[in-house]
Symmetry: C2
Subunit: 377 residues, 2 copies
């Protein structure tokens, strides 16, 4: 049986990228290594749609998020936190560890924070130094309207600091045009690499705040990365084989074109949602994003058991809900190196397992609706 | 020309480990992934010679060092810093960023901090909360007598916190028997993996201090790793392909046996030093360690130029000195997946390049002395 990875990180890695990882290891301070880092950094600017440098940290995405908090905030400073799920709560955890004064704009899981809420919060808290938001709230499948958030926050002195970990590269996100001051992503989502690298961009407005903030970190002090990257280098020994392999995946992204890539994800996501709905299931997110489809487990169906069957019988590995959502949702990623035919396969496998467990659906309804939507009919 | 990596990190990675890195990526929260982490953690306990859990962080070694500082110290607390080079200074940089009150025990580059100095420092500063030390000071080739340091610090309330990044697995280091409270290492040295993972052990005494210290970090809060590892898990998405590959390299270490591994490194290091001296060169470190040999560039020889020639003409990549030692020393690693015959080759190549540049030496003197020492004659 072929194993198929549909978790919203890690995601499948292209074969050429995997082969790159098997090559002998080199010295990370050589001219060759610096040239590779420079090339990767340029390609990341393209993916981020920013003219500012993008820094490479060896850490999970959370490390990149902590670098943003530790570099940009002094203890006690007020921030607005937009939270719509587990990853909004990740911001809260980091902010709390760093002594921030958090004003939370919260919505229930499955809902999205709206631009109106952000507008009201910045009006009520003109002393907020930053607004923290999440591009793709992977725990619920919600996507946020960061373009609108950006317009609002740009008019204030606050920074817009975004967790773009599971959305960047899968859904439209224009860091500069949308006024995102600090944007964080990770290697193991739409960037088609194993986990291990985080990438962070900082705007001019962001640097002004960072440079005026006392140093409180070492490894996560973004100033160190700025200084090193000016010489195409990293401040600490990086996961250099991952960087070399990231180059290969980034070349694929450049070859496809970022707008084509967004369009591909949008088309697959729309087809997936159509297939899911045609099977009589519901999409959990009120404002679904194109990185993944989150499906509400229907009444009477064993959520976690269904996922186990999907993996055991057909090789499809989807992700369960986290924490309180465990057993209540299914999370199906279509990020990165996953095409329409593979997602069609996942819809097919889900149909089969649901039929076997006695759930009433018209066999073929899901895949037919997927196909129809994908064909644009 | 065959490229040969002799830098003191990254070091060569076994072919079987590289191939593991090219395998498809899996989900990091699966039972299989947890079983792998559990196995790696067990094997790391063996390498560390500790009965305590060893935590896996996705970061460079410096990240592991910062986890020790951020978890174990509150701002303003007094610490004793033993520093004999750049990596001792790395501790200082992290300690400074975290507001520690640093009492430095310093020696010039090339010298070692002695147990007597540590004894005097703890006697003079009974209020010190920790002693920071370096197992292998890779910037100079010095090794520290941590067994003696441990005996001294164990009698106090202070913790012994050790950067074992470039020595652990290459030279004798018995974490529990030597009373090392926090020990940090990295994947890219004697553990035969590319860079990207840091490993940290904590003693019972260490946990007492950490649990009594306010939380000031998130990603580097060791408490989170303790909680997750109790369930064979990691608190954040780990570089799971590196962990899987680390398992392969750790199996090689277990198969060889840690004491045999220390003996192998000791034998190769002794032969290398004999070869170097027979060529009329000097070993830079007064107390050389077995992870690498650091050679003083002789008067009249272009240090950096010689390294460039070694790489360009013969494929041998050694490391230059760092900062003020650039051009003044050559650093030749014999850590990890490097055997006597390869180090012999490096000695041969160095002889050739020195002869070509007009340095006076008896051709064959270096390799003959290496061979004689290695044969135990």
């Amino acid at each position: 049986m072929k194993p198929r990875l549909f978790t919203p990180g890690p995601t499948p890695v292209p074969e050429e990228t995997l082969l790159e990882l098997a090559k002998p290891v080199g010295y990370h301070r050589s001219p060759e290594a610096k040239a590779i880092l420079a090339e990767v950094s340029e390609d990341l600017k393209y993916v981020f749609q920013t003219a500012n440098p993008v820094f490479t940290l060896t850490s999970s995405g959370t490390g990149g998020m902590e670098a943003a908090v530790a570099s940009a905030l002094a203890p006690g400073e007020k921030v607005i936190l937009c939270t719509a799920g587990r990853w909004g709560e990740r911001w809260r955890g980091i902010l709390k560890a760093h002594g921030a004064n958090v004003v939370a704009v919260e919505v229930p899981y499955g809902k999205a924070v709206t631009p109106d809420m952000v507008q009201a919060a910045v009006a009520q808290h003109p002393d907020a130094r930053a607004v923290f938001a999440t591009l793709s709230e992977t725990s619920t499948g919600v996507g946020h309207d960061l373009e609108a958030f950006g317009k609002i926050v740009a008019k204030t002195d606050a920074l817009l600091i975004v967790d773009g970990i599971s959305g960047l590269g899968a859904m439209e996100c224009r860091v500069d045009a949308w006024h995102i001051d600090v944007c964080v992503t990770g290697s193991q989502k739409a960037l088609m690499l194993p986990p291990g690298l985080a990438f962070v961009s900082v705007s001019e407005k962001g640097w002004k705040k960072i440079d005026a903030t006392p140093v409180r970190a070492f490894y996560f002090d973004l100033r160190r990365y700025r200084k090193s990257l000016a010489e195409s280098d990293t401040p600490f020994t990086p996961a250099n084989t991952l960087i070399k392999a990231q180059r290969v995946s980034l070349k694929q992204i450049r070859a496809e074109g970022i707008e084509n890539l967004w369009a591909r994800h949008a088309k697959i996501a729309a087809a997936c949602r159509a297939g899911v709905k045609a099977m009589g299931l519901e999409v959990f997110a009120e404002r679904p994003n194109n990185a993944l489809t989150v499906i509400t487990v229907p009444a009477g169906v064993d959520g976690s058991g269904t996922l186990k069957k999907l993996e055991k019988q057909y090789g499809f590995k989807l992700a369960d809900g986290q924490d309180t959502l465990k057993g209540k949702i299914w999370r199906l990623s279509h990020m990165g190196y996953t095409d329409a035919f593979e997602v069609l396969g996942a819809v097919s496998a889900l149909e089969l397992v649901l039929l076997e467990s006695g759930f009433k659906l018209d066999p073929g309804s899901g895949v037919a609706a997927f196909q129809k939507a994908y064909a644009g009919k």
